[in-house]
């Protein structure tokens, strides 16, 4: 329908939009620190939706490559990195301009990524090729390719930067890779369909969600072996419907938030005792989980209800559900 709209109308709309943008964007220049914006990638819109941190109104929709998924801020928090899976690249969004500044090629079907501690390299899982690519961000080139099990998904650099953890959804494994040599130093069989990671601040515990296993496997970050398991049983759901995917941990390493997919809840877990403190109802197929900077708010991305649930972490109550684009994947908060 859209592509049949007369050119004149399109021009008019573009004109109005740019006028609006001129007024709503900071005019001061390149530096836009702590904008308060909420960025949400939408897989089926080929765009990142930018919401105002207070009113939650849409500030802008930034066109990206095809199928944007995982996102992260750089250390300086002036750039937003967005994986565009079907375009096989990472788009770099300049937060001051709210526009894609340039793109970095990262190989076939990338889904999740992490950034080296010095900020120079991407570690990207290439789902179709069963490998992890190490990418030089500035030089836009592949430094190394590491062969892993089929359908690698979650990628995480350890807090000390020495280890790279990668899940293989098909091999049901976590690969532990030495970042100095890019060699696999341990393969740990975990639960079924392992997805994503979180770690305690000292790196002594690495938590990995098992989507089909309905659990979290806790790995010993030093010995590279299994240390424990957390299972989830929200009331009124069968084991089959509990599909944990997203996970995030507070900076003090005391609380983990785990999204439970088809069970439409997330779990609040006490890390030390490994007990579930609360189950909170959110939207459909809750996956992405992101805390804001002071950890007062949790943003849960609901892939099948096209919205984001904003949760007050003191009360564990959803304070608002905000509609975003089609099939939202990840939220990043620049506050």
């Amino acid at each position: 329908m859209n592509d049949k709209r007369p050119a004149a109308t399109v021009k008019r709309i573009v004109g109005v939009l740019s006028a609006v943008m001129l007024f709503s964007l900071p005019m001061s220049g390149a530096v836009a620190k702590d904008t308060g914006y909420i960025f949400v990638s939408s897989e089926n819109d080929n765009a990142v939706t930018v919401l105002d941190g207070k009113s939650h109104a849409v500030v802008k929709t930034i066109a990206t490559g095809e199928r944007p998924r995982d996102m992260k801020l750089n250390a300086a928090r002036d750039k937003l990195y967005v994986i565009a899976s079907n375009s096989e690249r990472v788009d770099i969004i300049d937060i001051a301009k709210l526009a894609v500044e340039r793109s970095v090629d990262v190989g076939e079907d990338p889904e999740m990524f992490d950034i080296s501690k010095d900020g120079s390299r991407f570690y990207v899982s290439n789902e179709e090729d069963a490998k992890v690519s190490v990418i030089d961000i500035a030089g836009n080139k592949v430094l190394a390719e590491i062969e892993v099990g089929e359908e690698p998904e979650g990628v995480m650099i350890s807090p000390d930067g020495k280890k790279l953890y990668v899940t293989s959804e098909v091999a049901n494994m976590v690969h532990v890779i030495d970042t100095a040599t890019n060699e696999v130093k341990a393969n740990i069989v975990v639960g079924n369909r392992p997805r994503r990671f979180a770690a305690t601040p000292d790196g002594s515990e690495v938590w990995v969600t098992n989507e089909l296993g309905g659990s979290v496997t806790i790995l010993d970050g030093v010995k590279d072996e299994i240390k424990g398991t957390v299972s989830f049983a929200p009331k009124g759901f069968r084991a089959d419907d509990v599909t944990p995917v997203g996970i995030t941990m507070t900076r003090d390493g005391k609380t983990a938030y785990v999204t439970l997919g088809r069970a439409n809840h997330f779990a609040v877990v006490d890390v030390a005792s490994r007990t579930v403190k609360d189950y909170v109802l959110v939207g459909q197929r809750a996956w992405g989980a992101t805390l804001n900077r002071d950890e007062s708010l949790l943003f849960v991305v609901n892939g099948l209800s096209d919205d984001v649930s904003i949760v007050d972490t003191r009360t564990n109550k959803v304070i608002k559900s905000v509609p975003v684009g089609r099939v939202p994947h990840t939220a990043v908060i620049d506050d």
Binding site: G149, E150, E151, V170, N187, N192, R193, D240
Partner: protein, 393 residues
């Protein structure tokens, strides 16, 4: 050294090796039993891409699963290998199965019609092996003909017709015209649909026999317009195991009604257009391997290998009996890329699974359809639940 002491010593050596790090790689071997010539995979048939028919030999699925298992195999020091064995008839396949079994193969994928599967399973009963039926949907194999070592990864007719009946009910298309073909397999499909219809309250307004013929003397049975006239109904179910007649039914009926069963809309184990639960990646691996789209039998062969690998991994390559106990047990989690954790029904060794309700290029629903509930596992609303089972292995 006596033989017994030698065995004891080598067992001890093996145990020591396992306990220390680098154990010698063991090989878990799969046999793929198939007929010399299977008309189902003739180029002339697959050319038409009939919705309910295979698109090629399911060995492609097994090969993909084997490739997927390399990494986890390396970590466990286990190699997985696949050996194809062909035979002209049932007797030849039985001979191939015993030859491979004597050579150490314990897991067999059987790609053959139901009669062959039934005989093969009967003949090998008691032998240390597991057979996976990957291409025969016949209900009888899960009922009277069931065997303790015969597992089924392809959904049976009752599962397919239950899934379709759930879909029809969910659309409130509760009156159906049933067209039944002349082949024995056609009668099995229509009987399964009649059962599902009765169970879910669908009215079959008429059951009519079709023939594949242009003979004017048989036009009442050969002409779709005549076959579909004289009654009103919400949908047409075509029970056609061959698929050639069904291909001509959509858009030729007297009433503008959807065609389901063998064409139009089908209930299948797999469809290349399924987009969720990681399905596109699996389909893409199958396309790379087979140079064609995958369909249900490919998935069934793939998931059979995956189930064994899962059992080998979780039992740490324990002795065969333990692997089989795990494989058949309630604890196993098989990832079929259809969203649910899958496992085998203890009463008839049929793999529980969701079915995809699909058109030529889209999956419109996944059964069990929301609202069709079961007291323990909603997937058991499809096919033979424990109380329906006549399997006494």
């Amino acid at each position: 050294m006596s033989l017994r002491r030698l065995i004891h010593a080598s067992a001890f050596a093996a145990a020591t090796l396992c306990a220390s790090l680098p154990a010698a790689a063991e090989t878990v071997r799969f046999g793929f039993l198939e007929l010399d010539r299977n008309p189902a995979y003739d180029d002339k048939r697959t050319f038409f891409r009939t919705l309910s028919q295979p698109l090629g030999s399911p060995v492609v699925g097994a090969e993909v699963a084997l490739r997927e298992s390399r990494f986890v195999g390396q970590a466990l020091k286990v190699d997985f290998a696949l050996e194809r064995a062909k035979g002209a008839d049932t007797a030849a396949l039985i001979a191939e199965a015993s030859r491979l079994q004597a050579g150490g193969v314990r897991y067999f994928l059987v790609d053959a019609p139901a009669a062959v599967v039934a005989e093969l399973a009967k003949a090998t009963r008691g032998s240390e092996m597991v057979l996976f039926n990957v291409s025969a949907a016949d209900d009888a194999l899960r009922q009277a003909q069931c065997q303790p070592h015969l597992f089924h990864t392809l959904p049976n007719h009752a599962m397919q017709t239950d899934a379709m009946a759930q879909y029809l009910v969910s659309r409130k298309w509760r009156s159906v015209l049933l067209l039944e073909g002349p082949l024995a397999d056609d009668k099995l499909i229509s009987a399964a649909f009649e059962n599902s219809a009765k169970r879910l309250g669908i009215k079959i307004v008429d059951k009519r026999q079709f023939v594949l013929s242009n003979d004017p003397r048989q036009r009442e049975q050969g002409n779709v317009a005549l076959l579909t006239a004289g009654k009103d109904y919400d949908a047409i179910f075509v029970a056609d195991s061959d698929g050639e007649f069904a291909r001509t039914v959509p858009y030729r009926a007297v009433l503008p009604r959807p065609v389901v069963g063998a064409e139009g809309l089908v209930a299948e184990a797999w469809h290349w257009a399924w987009e969720r639960h990681g399905a596109p990646q699996l389909t893409s691996r199958m396309v790379k391997q087979g140079d064609r789209h995958p369909s249900s039998r490919d998935w069934a062969a793939w998931v059979a290998v995956k189930a064994v690998v899962e059992s080998v991994v979780r039992t740490n390559n324990a002795p065969f009996a333990q692997q089989v106990a795990y494989l058949a047990g309630e604890e196993i989690t098989i990832d079929g890329f259809k969203g649910n954790k899958l496992g085998f029904r203890p009463w008839d060794r049929q793999l529980r699974q969701p079915l995809l309700i699909a058109t030529h290029n889209a999956v419109v629903e996944r059964a069990p359809i929301q609202g069709f509930l079961h007291q323990t596992n909603n997937m058991d609303t499809l096919g033979f639940d424990q109380r329906d089972s006549q399997c006494k292995p």
